[in-house]
Subunit: 144 residues, 2 copies
């Protein structure tokens, strides 16, 4: 569905957001550890999130990654867009370049319905809402 990079990105953003009220800056190393991802690759993904203003960062000593208030409210579809682009939510299940109501593939209608639901779900879910479930301990970001 979405790429591995994008999964790391969403996990990272959720973790950073979960620490937003503590006013701390998190290092790549700590983030990678807390989301169970390779550190170097996590750094790359965080670079992209920062460039898209989804998370913020500061270089140098006492630097690191953090979320500003307005960033907390961003929907996770923004992360998907930054890393993978939005083609997941638009492309044809059967791989036709142009699959529309006027020129549909045999699965067009049944798939479009699910695709739209999925998109809506990604549009309506904010980073902070997912971070909440982390803080309350009702969800996890690390593997068992």
């Amino acid at each position: 569905m979405i790429s591995k990079s994008c999964k790391y990105a969403i996990r990272s953003a959720i973790y950073i957001a979960s620490k937003a009220d503590e006013n701390v800056k998190l290092s790549v190393k700590e983030i990678a550890k807390e989301i169970d991802a390779p550190p170097a690759f996590t750094g790359k993904v965080l670079q992209i999130l920062n460039k898209h203003r989804i998370v913020s960062s500061l270089k140098g000593p006492y630097g690191g990654f953090f979320c500003e208030k307005n960033q907390l409210k961003l929907p996770i579809i923004n992360i998907v867009n930054a890393i993978d682009g939005l083609s997941v939510f638009t492309e044809c299940v059967l791989g036709l370049h142009e699959c529309t109501d006027a020129h549909p593939c045999p699965m067009h209608y049944q798939h479009a319905e699910m695709r739209d639901k999925m998109r809506k779900s990604f549009e309506e879910t904010t980073i902070v809402s997912l971070a909440e479930s982390l803080k309350t301990g009702s969800a996890y970001l690390t593997n068992l």
Copy 2:
């Protein structure tokens, strides 16, 4: 979502099924042309479908690919299983190795719902039903 190979596979199966009542055998070349896919790669994909008994084939002159009656009724999830495996319908959106009701990721519940709907849709849609829409001209397999 599903791989490019799998998309070619489903398109191939639909096309072969749409010719089932004409009792003809279709060459790789013709199938590839009709579904707008690279011939050599289409051949590879058809090999897998044949090995999984989703389509049938006969070598030699007047040989080619065709669908038997019982194969027409197969659900397209069988094709996904043959080419990609069923992990699309089971794996965690955020990439956790074990994401369950007991140890959920922050998106577990909202995603599980869509994943199950998608699976059901692939289980309930048969190859022949998609082939019908091709025959009636209400859907297409080729790019504009």
